[in-house]
């Protein structure tokens, strides 16, 4: 805070008011998540109570039991995990190669390509659901996890390449020359020297591809039409919505199961994420 000493030369009551406001906002922002977890642990009677209390004195695992035993959430969780991991791994490797190409080489159409990657980020992937549906059908991929993995690799690539650019650029070229003099081939340099150095950037990039894939609802809904064993978590959650009476306990337990891993992941990598974001914006 000392570096911005000037800006906080506000009278104490002003700062205290600001801090109180910040804490209030923090509580309000966190409240939906608190309510989600709380409702997941409430016994059924309390969830469906017209006089909801912000605490529970008799936490129960009934809702979670319903989620895992009746609805096979374990399987959907695994499906989601397989899809997200495949996308993260594949797009990290492909984006690393592409980012290396556009930052460490000068060639014709380089700038054109970069602009294309930027434009590609803006393509509304939702608009491509229809042609992708037919593409997946023609390749016999409907109702398979592949129908989710393939499009998501494509959609996370432009952003990943764009973001990794800054990290690859930051590796000094002298290092490369040194490696060459020491007798390392290009392939060896690429994977044994550059790759580990760029790895922090890959982590930040991967968070974004992981989250967009983990959250995907539209493709799962459109491409996994008849085989529910291939469902991913977002789809499975909707099972608890019923025309007559929603099973709110089940919905909240399912939501908790789906949110907590991402939340933990986010908190673990948040420093990398924020610095990566700063790098990408600045660059």
């Amino acid at each position: 805070m000392s570096s911005t000493g000037f800006r906080i030369r506000i009278r104490r009551p002003g700062r205290l008011a600001a801090e109180a406001a910040a804490l209030l906002v923090a509580a309000a922002v966190a409240f939906p998540l608190y309510w989600m977890v709380l409702s997941a642990f409430k016994p059924a009677g309390e969830v469906q109570s017209t006089n909801p209390r912000p605490w529970t004195l008799s936490p129960s695992l009934d809702s979670f039991r319903r989620v895992f035993e009746q609805q096979e959430f374990g399987r959907y969780f695994l499906n989601s995990l397989v899809v997200a991991s495949a996308v993260v791994l594949a797009s990290a490797v492909i984006a690393f190669l592409a980012a290396t190409a556009v930052t460490r080489f000068r060639f014709r159409f380089r700038t054109t390509l970069l602009i294309m990657f930027l434009v590609a980020q803006m393509v509304p992937i939702e608009a491509l659901t229809i042609p992708l549906f037919f593409l997946m059908r023609d390749f016999g991929q409907l109702n398979t996890l592949g129908s989710l993995i393939l499009p998501h690799i494509a959609f996370s690539l432009p952003f990943a390449i764009w973001m990794l650019r800054g990290f690859v650029k930051a590796v000094p070229e002298a290092l490369e020359e040194q490696a060459m003099i020491d007798g390392a081939g290009r392939t060896r340099f690429l994977w044994q020297i550059l790759f580990p150095l760029v790895f922090p950037g890959l982590v930040a990039t991967s968070v974004f591809s992981f989250i967009s894939t983990w959250n995907d609802f539209l493709f799962a809904k459109s491409f996994l039409i008849s085989d529910t064993s291939q469902s991913t978590l977002p789809m499975a959650l909707l099972v608890f919505f019923k025309p007559d009476e929603n099973d709110w306990g089940g919905i909240m337990a399912g939501s908790t199961v789906m949110t907590i891993p991402v939340l933990v992941f986010f908190v673990l990598v948040q420093r990398r994420l924020v610095s990566g974001l700063g790098g990408a914006v600045k660059d």
Partner: protein
């Protein structure tokens, strides 16, 4: 697929001597020479190959297909192969533009996205400024809460917000004394409810980015302005805001793009577009046309309209960053 390029590029290609291209790098050739020796003009393309194959097959080709289908007669009959596909020219677009519902949905989409963008930016920027004025502990609390909202998947965020505002079991109506007022019943209240969720999950990106931007402004500049007798407001308007401009452009454009194509929130929170489609936005409208009523060509035409709108936004964005002299 990704291993193929790296086994090949070890062999030096014969044409590498003439491969040097004019450009900024050519001006300082001596440092480049050792690196050029080991590669060839094809090396960057080999590295790019997997990315180009994936993007070509799953992004470029589908865009072409989308355009194509929007010009065809393509319903369940054609999809199942029962009837031949016929070229319609602009027929689908004529049908779409003649439908008053399309214009109503388009207007709703634009207004809803605009409201979301404005609210997100206002909340995000205000909280970013707030973050600069508080000590580390409350700042951490707000950061963590925002991180939580940011990380929450759209589907679960939607379900939780619907539950919070549930007329029977939700705490919000109880606290506000609204009785059994149903938020999803009315058109505007349903849009408002979705807006709350969208702002909740997207303000953190704006807040964190703008906060990082403010922190990056050297304090000497601000001190100098203060010594010259500028008021807080004047400093903000004349020093901070202009220096934040590039970042504000990025977050604004990102928000526009993001909010314009909201799907999950509308779909989950209003049950597929609200009562009698009152809460439809273009995305959900296209989905319903294509997958619920098998009018794939109409759905594709809507997709093309959306693509064109976002392409326009992107071009404006490119012009803006070009004008700021960013090197690609």
């Amino acid at each position: 697929m990704t291993t193929a390029p790296r086994t090949k590029e070890a062999a030096p290609a014969p044409d590498r001597a003439g491969a040097r291209l004019p450009g900024p790098r050519a001006a300082r050739p001596s440092r480049r020479t050792p690196r050029r020796r080991t590669g060839s003009a094809w090396t960057p393309w080999l590295y790019l190959l997997p990315a180009l194959v994936v993007l070509g097959g799953l992004l470029v080709y589908p865009i072409y297909q989308l355009g194509l289908i929007s010009f065809l007669e393509y319903t369940q009959a054609q999809v199942s192969g029962g009837e031949p596909t016929t070229f319609q020219g602009l027929g689908n677009y004529r049908e779409l533009f003649a439908d008053p519902q399309f214009w109503q949905v388009l207007l709703a989409t634009v207004l809803f996205a605009a409201a979301c963008v404005l609210a997100t930016l206002a909340v995000g920027c205000a909280l970013a400024v707030l973050l600069t004025r508080i000590r580390a502990l409350p700042r951490l609390a707000l950061m963590l809460a925002a991180l939580g909202a940011w990380a929450t998947p759209a589907v679960t965020g939607s379900t939780v917000w619907v539950f919070l505002f549930d007329p029977d079991y939700g705490p919000v109506n109880r606290v506000l004394g609204l009785g059994d007022f149903s938020w999803t019943y009315g058109r505007y209240s349903a849009f408002a409810l979705v807006l709350f969720e969208v702002v909740w999950c997207s303000f953190p990106f704006v807040m964190v980015t703008v906060y990082a931007g403010i922190k990056a402004i050297p304090s000497e500049v601000l001190e100098a302005a203060a010594l010259d007798g500028a008021s807080q407001w004047r400093i903000w308007r004349s020093v901070t805001a202009p220096m934040l401009r590039p970042i504000l452009v990025v977050v604004t454009i990102q928000s526009i793009i993001w909010d314009f194509k909201v799907f999950t929130q509308i779909y989950v929170m209003t049950g597929g577009g609200g009562i009698a489609g009152q809460n439809l936005v273009l995305n959900v409208y296209a989905y319903q046309k294509a997958f619920a009523s098998s009018q794939y060509s109409l759905g594709s035409a809507i997709g093309v309209v959306m693509l064109l709108i976002l392409l326009t936004v992107t071009l404006v964005y490119l012009r803006l960053i070009r004008r700021q002299g960013e090197e690609l």
